[in-house]
Symmetry: C2
DNA sequence: AGATAAAACGAACACTCGTTAGTAAAATTC
DNA sequence: GAATTTTACTAACGAGTGTTCGTTTTATCT
């Protein structure tokens, strides 16, 4: 019954997914081979299939973990007693933090979801669409209440989200600009553009 | 001496690159095969090699065309007699326009440059780094002259550029939000976040 | 300890990949 | 119209793909 734990509480499957996330980000899902991955795990390619079912199962695990993290946080924020503007700031900060703490995972979820097989692809896109719609609604409410300037909500959401996902470029120059400086500056920029 | 022109002034090589840009965007460079491309061009895969030298030559052509377009425009703006803020607005608008008019090309240049072979990869990254540094300098000057709020210039550049590159998500909902509305709203958002 | 389950292995399968060689068809030049 | 160049074709190569098979090694449980 008991499973092998390679280190602490992580199963070998978790190790595989973690190594894969680094590899998928570096080379892209398509260009990263199972033999590549196996070498990083320290095992032969065939042995991987004792722990996973397919290459794309790894991608699914990564993409949906990220999607669920964002969705959970959104729901928590939505039911909080804050202004729409403050809620947006919380969400923006969460996105930035996720981008910094779970860089590989978020990056892959952002860039490699195309390679998801059906029906997971449609599922993923549906979830993303709903998430964005919720953010749009939040901004629309902020405008109605006079907290935000009269901007097209969906455009604002698009601008916001892609601005944040661009932190990937920063990841290599993190010595020059420390994380908290980056976060505060981005929030300043992005929230200021929303304020009335 | 005279070459065949498939349509108007475009050589067959141009046709191949154009079809490839659509394919590379849809499937990604790695997942798009030469046989795929050949089918879209209406020819056998081997025949492509009468017009191009390799698959990655196509990628090079696309990436460097886009990079040069942006660089040319930047140099033109730099020598114009405008305020730093106005210059930034011109650049932002140009980026948005490029994203709308040359969607496939810009998208590929943004997302598939990783697959460039050396030494083109290093070349490309150098060019991009210089471009971003120029934008940073422009913003720094805007801050010095009191036109912009005191924000970390490099963070602002990162935020700006990636916000714009996110228009890709909008491309499918262009019926709901017309191009000029998108452009004006994005400019409003992004410039407002810069203003003092 | 022996029995049982889990994990690793080498080899192979059935493909697909970018690309090349050799040749036939088509277009251009003279 | 013949000669020449350009383009497209079929066939194939060698390498790499994700994955499966049958077996052996390793770990866990009684």
């Amino acid at each position: 019954m008991a499973k092998i734990r390679s280190k602490k509480n992580s199963s070998k499957k978790d190790v595989i997914i973690e190594k894969a996330s680094k590899l998928f980000r570096e080379k892209g899902f398509g260009a990263a081979s199972m033999r590549d991955l196996a070498e990083h795990v320290g095992v032969e390619a065939a042995s991987l299939y004792n722990h996973i079912q397919s290459k794309s199962e790894i991608l699914q695990a990564i993409c949906f973990k990220v999607a669920n993290d964002f969705l959970s946080h959104l729901e928590a924020v939505q039911s909080a007693p804050e202004s729409a503007l403050k809620k947006m700031e919380l969400i923006i900060r969460f996105h930035i933090r996720m981008m910094m703490d779970q860089y590989e995972y978020v990056y892959i979820s952002d860039h490699e979801w195309r390679h998801l097989p059906e029906p997971y692809l449609s599922n993923f896109l549906n979830q993303r669409r709903n998430y964005r719609r919720s953010l749009s609604d939040l901004i629309a409410r902020g405008i109605d209440r006079g907290e935000m300037k009269n901007i097209e909500p969906y455009v604002a959401v698009l601008t916001l989200l892609s601005a944040i996902s661009g932190i990937e470029s920063w990841h290599r120059s993190r010595k020059i600009i420390p994380p908290d400086v980056l976060e505060d500056n981005m929030v300043k920029y992005l929230i200021e553009g929303l304020k009335k």
